[in-house]
Structure formats: structure tokens, C-alpha cells
Amino acid sequence: MSHPDDLLADYVDGTLAQRERAAVDAHLTGCARCSAEVRQAGAARAALSELEDVPVPFGVTGPVLAEAGRRFERRPGVVWGRFQWAAGLAAAAALVLVVALNLGDGDTTQNAAAPERAATAGGGTGAAGAESATPGVIPFAGLERQPDVNYDEAGIHAVANDAAGAVLAAKDAAGSQAAFASTVTDSKERTSLARSCIDRSGVRGPNDELIRLIQARFDGTPAFIGVFAEGPGAGQAPDHIVVFVVATDDCRILSTASQRIPPG
């Protein structure tokens, strides 16, 4: 007799009809292979049913609910809501950005010390190029996920330093490429979630432009790291980099760092 493979899952579950069950029982008495399988499958099933659900850690769904609330506010025909801006849809916004930053021609790929994420850097031009075809602006390329990187204060300062170097280089260099070598640029949803979290923390000033966003850890706490170019406003070039670190669960501020951009 051929092995009743298609019945064995239900046999182990105990859901077979009487007749089929009897047929499988009869087969098992003479088939070592199926008997062994049934024993193993039964043990595995028993072990799995012992697994208990654990409580959901604090803050997992908080950001989702916050995003739901914001969608709600945006819903009735808000055209220039910050979400649309954040999605990088607005050519006009890019224009404003150029004026605000008042950078020279071109930009760069200069990434100073950000540790060797170079593996995927070469491919980074797609999204970035679409986001900013305008020369002189550091394109925001999306959320970089660095799940296994744990930053400390010094690391955050290094990030600020890198960014200052990148903005400075953007004033001299030509071409439009991603300014930062990023690892994985994540989904739009997650990127907008991270931006919302940064915005919600209330840290963003009127003349700040987000140039980089990282998801990593800070002193062990899951965190979003937002890097902003900050200018005096009134169309003047950015003169500072400000980095904000906020917790991913409730968007509270964990740390900040700033770095002056030397005059170009």
C-alpha cells in the first residue's frame, strides 16, 4: 500500500473521520516510516501548542496610531499637507528648498566616516535622483535601516560631522548623487512613519531641511536619527547641521548634536 501522506497531518490532529482513521491505523502497524513520521509530527505539534503568546512590548503600535490620526487630519482635501511634502511629490517644494539652501552648483557623494556602508552605495542614485533633480541640493534618499548599529553620543557627533562635510562638498561638486551611502532604503510607509515621529517630537525648526534619516539604536534604545541642514532663513545657505535622535516607540528625544558648516 502506498503511504497515506495526505492523511497524516489530520491523523496527528485527531480530525480524521472514523473510517480513515482506522485505515491509517492499519497502515501504521506495518509501516515503520509512517509510524516514525507520526511520532515526530505529534511531538512537534505538542511542542508548538505549548508556545504561549507574549505581551506586546510598549510602543509597538503607538506610531501606527499616531499615523492614523494624522491621516485623519489630512483627509479632507489638504493638498499641501506635510505628508505630501514629505513624500517628495512637490516640485515647488524642491524649488523653495533650493532658494532656502542657496547652495552652489552640483553636489556630491562625499561621505566621510559613516562606516563602510558602501556595499549598496553605488545603486543609490535611483530614488535619490528622482527626489531631487535640482543641482546643489542634498537629496533625501529615504530611510536607512541600520538595525544592528548602536550609536552613542560620539557616533551621533560623527553623523553630524559627516553631514556638514557633505553639505560643504555639495557646494563645490557637480552631479546629482546620493550624499550618503545608505544600506537599505526602506519602504515609503516606514519612511513617512519615521518622519512623522521626528516631526511629532517637535524638534524641527522652521528653517530645517531633513537631509538624512536613519533607523538604528541609540544606547540600546530603538531610535530614529534625523539629520537636518539648518539655515538662518531668508534664502541664506545652511550654516549648521543639527541631528536629533528620537525613540521609535514614543518619539521622545534621546539626544541631539550639532555641527557648524564652515562657509563655502
Partner: protein
């Protein structure tokens, strides 16, 4: 007497017609299952957290196009499973440097099973579960851990019910082997079918085979956070 709880589909309708609390109620109702499913699937708290958020964000984004052809829970669970697949794929693609030591062969053997201690037992099971190929793992989590009926599992995963049965049986055997539950000695292995994976007889590369303790090398998707 309290009102009976609102149906999921009613909460969806209420949210779409302007009741913002309705979405929060949906999330609150389902977050535990979604999170735990993701935790079993990915084996890492960090990934479970991300997958849970991704799943609910997808739901939020697509809620207006939810027509109720499938039950809301079926849809939510499908979205969750897909979010886990996406995350696992991303982790596999990430440069080695990113993944650190998770990828290296186990530095030290996992502690010997201590069946008197429930938490270490479930740790063993979770570790072993990560050795089971994803498609099989998903079906086992839905059915064996979370007690969904085979019909529901088939609808969530989008395969015929016969495939669910086959994945359940093959997956359980793989799990048993990963846990070190061997066949009895008197059993002489049948060379024609040594319990390989597949919907029928086809083998799946990477599946642990009999006699090969799966803990010889670490799980490919990271380890359980303490």
C-alpha cells in the same frame, strides 16, 4: 449588560466614515496576535516590532479599498505574513557586515534542553522553528500555535488545503528533527523518501535532514532576543 463587541468589519466601516477611534480599537484587538505571529516567524523582537508596524500601516493604507470579500482577520493575517516575508528577505539581502555575528556558525552550542524549565523549552522550540523553511513555518504558526483551522490557513496563505496539510506534516517532521527528536532506532530509513520537504516528494534545499542536528549552524534569520 454590555453591548456585544463590534465586528471587525463594522469597525472598518466606522473608521472610514469618520470614527477615528475605530481604527485604534482594531489595532488594540489584534496587535497581540499580529505581534506574536511575527515574533514566531522572525525569531527577533526587533523584527517582530517592525513587521507589526508594517502590517498595520499597510492595513491603514489599504483600508479604504477593503471590500470585505474576505474576513478582515483573514486579510490582516495575510498582510502580517507578507510583512514577515518581506522583512526576512530584507535581512537576507543585507550585507554581512550589517548582520554581524548572527550569521556566523553558532559560537557556542545552545544550552541543552531542560524540559523542566518551560521558558527554555519554548526557546528551544522557537530556535528549531527558525530552521523550518518559511512557507512551512507560516502554516505551522497559524495552525499549530494559533489554532486556526486549515481552511482559514489556506485562505490566508493563498494555497489549496491539500498544500496546507502537506506543509503541516512535512514542517512538523522538520521541526522534530531540528529539535533533535529522532526516529526510533529500529526504523531503517527509506531511501526513497527520507522525509524531505516538498508539497509531495520534491526536496527543498536547506531543509534539515534526518540525523543532522540543526543546531550545528545557527538559524539564518537571527536569534531570539533575550
Amino acid at each position: 449588560m454590555a453591548n456585544p463587541p463590534a465586528r471587525d468589519e463594522d469597525l472598518v466601516r466606522r473608521y472610514l466614515s469618520g470614527d477615528r477611534a475605530a481604527f485604534a480599537a482594531l489595532v488594540e484587538r489584534h496587535e497581540r496576535r499580529v505581534y506574536n505571529r511575527a515574533l514566531r516567524m522572525t525569531g527577533r523582537e526587533e523584527d517582530a516590532r517592525d513587521a507589526t508596524q508594517d502590517a498595520f500601516l499597510t492595513v491603514l493604507r489599504k483600508l479604504s479599498s477593503f471590500r470585505g470579500e474576505a474576513a478582515f482577520t483573514t486579510w490582516l493575517h495575510r498582510v502580517t505574513v507578507n510583512a514577515c516575508y518581506d522583512l526576512l528577505r530584507k535581512r537576507q539581502r543585507a550585507p554581512l557586515l550589517e548582520r554581524g555575528e548572527d550569521d556566523l556558525p553558532a559560537r557556542e552550542p545552545p544550552p541543552a534542553p531542560d524540559h523542566a524549565d518551560t521558558s527554555s523549552l519554548s526557546m528551544d522550540v522557537q530556535q528549531a522553528l527558525l530552521q523550518v523553511p518559511e512557507d512551512f513555518r507560516a502554516v505551522m504558526i497559524l495552525h499549530d500555535v494559533h489554532d486556526l483551522r486549515q481552511e482559514e490557513v489556506a485562505a490566508i496563505v493563498g494555497v489549496p488545503i491539500g498544500t496546507v496539510k502537506s506543509r503541516l506534516h512535512r514542517g512538523r517532521i522538520a521541526l522534530a528533527r531540528a529539535m533533535g527528536i529522532e526516529q526510533q532506532q529500529r526504523f531503517v530509513e527509506d531511501p526513497e523518501d527520507p522525509g524531505t520537504f516538498g508539497e509531495s516528494r520534491g526536496a527543498v534545499p536547506g531543509a534539515p535532514r534526518s540525523g543532522e542536528r540543526a543546531d550545528a549552524s545557527g538559524p539564518s534569520e537571527g536569534t531570539v532576543s533575550p
